[in-house]
Amino acid sequence: MDGVAQLKKRLADYTTSLYDEGYLDDQFVQLQQLQDESNPEFVVEVVSLFFQDSQRLLSELAKALEQQSVDFRKVDAYVHQLKGSSSSIGAQRVQRACISFRNYCDDQNIEGCLKCLQQLKNEYSLMKNKLETLFKLEQQLLEAGG
């Protein structure tokens, strides 16, 4: 029982920290609400899909920005997609990075875009780590019986 309680506390703390640090926002809560008996793995599925999608988008972005003449509209479209995805799951920091990326895109500032891309990648990997950790904790809790 103590283990469970501890685990629970750890999970709660971790979640809180995620919220506090701005990694997640309200939307994630909504997601969690959607998870019920009929859809037990909803959150994990959505998050995995998000990871796949983001991976693909990031590589596309890198490719697009390496071109001789950068097609900013395409870049903008990718970033928009990424923004949409991240906001759907509540990945707040990623979403913010996307917003600033879009600004640079509007200004057609290649250096800025590259910088943003880097930042985006960082945020994304951070996010990914955090979420994976979260899921692991949840898994542990589930296994422990909580």
Binding site: Y19, V29, L34, N39, G84, S85
Partner: protein, 871 residues
């Protein structure tokens, strides 16, 4: 008639003769002794009788007939004069005894002229002729010849003259074509010629002349007589004409003189006119005031040959005239002269040029050098017209009363006087100057106005840009702050709601609920900060829906009770019994208003009680004197709710009441410790109340007397009251009511995998039957009657959602069962909302969508057919 009778003795020997002059035909002479020559062998008569001679009168000799031999002789031989007939009567007188026979003779001559006749004729019948000398018995006068000679010469000259005068007359007649009486002259000529002829002929009658001469003489005389009579008569006839000629000549001369004068006048006028035209041209060729005046003075000086010409302008105060321009002085010293001088008034009172004395102050421009006589001075007024004068409809009457004075001085020491035409010239020029000056003034004014306008434009432009920058900055700031503020809020709300799920004691739960409510309230306040800026833009709209009126008040009470109990204030709520339970309106904002008002009441009361009264405004109490702008008109589907919050706190000074509703103002009378809140609350309340077509005001009698806040808002009466349909309480509480929509067919258009999955999951959670498509064609293909709602993500590239919506509408216009179309967008601009409603969409929802939001959206759609909330 007098005549001389000269009797020549025709005898050689001496004779003592007598000379007699007789004046009448009958006369006789004294006998004289005579002796006669015996040339022919004169016989002596034997009868030596003689008769006494007496003077005048005729004597008939009686008794002497045998001694008297008389007879009549016509004049014969030489010496015929002018055709006159002389009869000679002679007597032979014999002296008695001793004396020989005396012959004497009487001559009868009707000649007008006394002439000397020398007659000699043959004696016949032993008659002897005697030459007689005039007058009494006088000795023969040998000086006859001298006189005769003189007479001869004079006659000659007379004749000469008589002949030369007609020649001159002929010459004159020939030369004068216009002389009307030529025939008179001809007559005169003839008359003179004949007279001359007569005289000439008489030259031959001095001595013995033949009958021819006599005939010639007579003819001449007759002709002369005729012609002279004719001339005399003619002259009489033509004298009136000649006189009238003279009169006419005089008349014509007068007329000519008059015309000359008039011509002189016209010429001077024309010259004046020319001068004026030239002056006017000069004056009007410039719009610069100084040039106008200078030119005027120069030209006037030149035209009229003035010595000095000066212009006095009124000063700003209008009490003095200042010397502004002169002709000779280049830099006039600023003489001033008070404007009320009589001479100046005299000049100003008429628009004619007035002669003034050279000694008056306006004319004394230079110090008199003492010796010379100053020339005449004339002054004329120049009206100064202002722009304001032309705003009256009729021409400006000379009520301007602002005149300048123009002074003109003739050169001194000249005898020149001001002529009428010169004065007229001056007057005309003064008028022209006035017009030109007013033009210049108008131009100056308009230039100034234009410059002013330009400046103002620039300033306005700057202000506008600054304002725009400020607004942009504010909006940016608000957007950022908004976001920054929302984040912790959401964290709080999220975590609190999460906490709610956990195990809690009842007190903890209560506390948690309060925390949640407060944080929701705070979230609402943050929203309202955004709202206020939108309120000011006018872009805020009320979220109208049906809600529980009583519940609102209960909530407020619950919220306020803790604070009030801390301050030991008693709160009483009175709801009127006829207050409906449900009403239609913006409950969130109504709650905000009530909370704000009650909160203020609590804040500013240190002790006492607070009473909240609510009732419906009746028709009788419609006209509230304290709210003149509010004219509530109750109707069938709405009513006016009146809420009164009375507190017993510090009160507000009546003068400060208006300031209370102005945002950010703070009454100084509040104690420093109480100034906890910003001044935003009441301003927002007022705006919301106005949006609800109501009115809010505060009544207070002063400090320490408490304060009553009253507001009236218009609320709708709900059409149907369904007990089962529970009213929507704003996001204060999260009720997990089971409002699922089993079997509701829904279509989602989204291409973003993640968000598609999330939304799908959401709708599945709500029990809907979800179909997802990712393109417009798929959508149009798969949409059918069964689908009740279509959710479209606005940001799907390549899809014009408006077009899709339009096409869906087209597809289903025939049937009534058209699915609802809702747009999902991350950006709720009014523009997007307008576009969506234009194409006939039923709602716009802001992403990200929470479960509750989705639920309420679907509920709204099913109930009302449109989505009310936008976020």
């Amino acid at each position: 008639m007098k005549m001389r009778i000269i009797l020549h003795l025709s005898q050689e020997n001496d004779a003592s003769q007598m000379v007699f002059t007789k004046s009448s035909p009958w006369a006789f002479l004294e006998l004289h002794q005579w002796s006669y020559s015996t040339e022919k062998g004169h016989e002596q008569r034997e009868e030596p009788t003689s008769w006494p001679v007496s003077g005048m009168g005729a004597h008939r000799f009686q008794g002497l007939v045998p001694d008297l031999v008389h007879g009549t002789y016509s004049f014969l031989g030489e010496g015929e004069r002018r055709g006159m007939v002389f009869s000679v009567l002679f007597f032979l007188v014999r002296r008695p005894l001793s004396s020989p026979w005396i012959f004497h003779r009487l001559l009868i001559s009707p000649s007008p002229l006394s002439q000397s006749l020398s007659l000699s004729f043959q004696i016949c019948e032993e008659l002897y002729l005697l030459a007689m000398e005039p007058c009494c018995i006088e000795p023969q006068w040998p000086a006859d010849e001298l006189l005769m000679k003189y007479q001869y010469i004079s006659d000659f000259f007379i004749a000469l003259a008589y002949f030369s005068i007609p020649l001159e007359l002929i010459y004159f007649v020939k030369k004068s074509a216009v002389f009307p009486y030529r025939w008179v002259l001809v007559q005169f000529g003839a008359f003179i010629v004949l007279c001359g002829a007569t005289h000439l002929v008489s030259l031959w009658t001095f001595s013995m002349h033949s009958r021819t001469v006599a005939i010639v003489m007579t003819t001449a005389k007759v002709l002369t007589a005729v012609v002279s009579c004719a001339t005399a008569l003619m002259l009489v006839h033509i004298i009136p004409d000649l006189l009238s000629v003279k009169t006419r000549e005089l008349f014509l001369k007068n007329k000519a003189a008059e015309l000359d004068r008039e011509m002189g006048l016209i010429r001077t006028q024309e010259e004046t006119g020319r001068h004026v035209r030239m002056l006017t041209h000069e004056i009007r060729s410039t719009l610069d005031r100084h040039t106008i005046l200078k030119t005027t003075l120069v030209e006037l000086g030149r035209t009229l040959a003035l010595e000095e010409c000066a212009l006095w302008m009124p000063t700003r105060t209008g009490l003095e005239l200042q010397l502004s321009y002169t002709l000779r002085h280049q830099n006039p010293v600023g003489f001033t002269v008070p404007i009320q001088l009589p001479v100046i008034n005299q000049v100003f009172s008429t628009n004619h040029a007035v002669k003034i004395s050279p000694n008056c102050p306006v004319a004394r421009l230079r110090p008199l050098a003492g010796k010379y006589m100053p020339g005449e001075v004339v002054a004329v007024r120049v009206p100064l017209l202002h722009l304001s004068n032309f705003q009256i409809n009729d021409w400006p009457e000379l009520s301007t009363k602002r005149y300048a004075l123009m002074v003109l001085m003739l050169p001194s020491d000249s005898a020149r006087q001001w002529h009428v035409h010169e004065l007229e010239l001056v007057e005309v020029v003064a008028d022209q100057v006035a017009v030109a000056l007013s033009h210049a003034a108008i131009l100056e004014e308009s230039m100034r106005a234009r410059d002013l306008l330009m400046e103002q434009n620039v300033a306005l432009d700057l202000a506008r840009r600054e304002a725009e920058t400020a607004i942009r900055a504010r909006n940016d700031f608000l957007a950022v702050m908004n976001h920054e503020m929302r984040t912790p809020m959401h964290a709080m709300i999220a975590l609190s709601s999460l906490l709610q799920e956990t195990e809690l004691t009842p007190e903890q739960r209560l506390m948690l609920e309060t925390i949640l409510k407060s944080s929701n309230l705070l979230a609402t306040l943050i929203n309202d900060v955004l709202d206020l800026s939108r309120l000011e833009d006018g872009s805020l709209q009320l979220d109208v829906r049906t809600f529980n009126l009583h519940a609102i008040f209960r909530e407020v009470l619950n919220l306020i009770k803790p604070i009030a109990s801390v301050k030991k204030l008693v709160i009483a709520l009175n709801l009127a019994p006829d207050l409906p339970e449900y009403a239609v309106g913006d409950d969130k904002r109504l709650m905000q208003i009530i909370l704000n008002v009650v909160g203020n009441a609590v804040k500013f009361s240190k002790q006492g009680s607070i009473s909240i009264t609510c009732f419906i405004v009746k028709a009788e109490s419609l006209r509230d004197l304290r709210a003149p702008e509010c004219f509530p008109v109750p109707g069938d589907n709405h009513f006016y709710l009146r809420v009164q919050v009375k507190d017993s706190g510090s009160g507000i000074h009546p003068q400060d009441i208006p300031k209370v509703f102005t945002k950010f103002t703070h009454s100084q009378s509040l104690a420093a410790g109480n100034s906890g809140g910003s001044g935003l609350g009441l301003a927002i309340c007022k705006r919301f109340v106005n949006l609800m077509e109501g009115h809010i005001w505060i009544e207070s009698e002063g400090h320490g007397k408490g304060c009553t806040a009253i507001f009236v808002v218009k609320l709708g009466i709900p059409e149907s009251l369904h007990e089962s349909k529970l009213p929507f309480v704003p996001k204060m509480t999260r009720n997990h009511r089971q409002t699922a929509f089993p079997g509701l067919k829904v279509l989602i258009i989204d291409d973003n995998g993640v968000s598609k999955m999330v939304n799908k999951g959401l709708l599945l959670h709500l029990g809907c039957d979800v179909t997802t498509v990712s393109s417009a064609d798929e959508c149009l293909r798969s949409v059918s009657q069964e689908h009740k709602v279509v959710f479209m993500d606005v940001s799907v590239p390549g899809i014009d959602i408006y077009e899709v919506a339009f096409q869906i509408r087209e597809k289903f216009t025939r049937c009534r069962e058209r699915p609802f179309i809702v747009a999902l967008t991350g950006n709720t601009d009014r523009v997007i909302k307008e576009n969506c409603s234009r194409v006939g969409m039923d709602g716009v929802v802001l992403k990200p969508v929470s479960v509750d939001k989705m639920r309420s959206v679907i509920l709204d759609l099913l109930e009302h057919g449109a989505v009310f909330e936008a976020h």
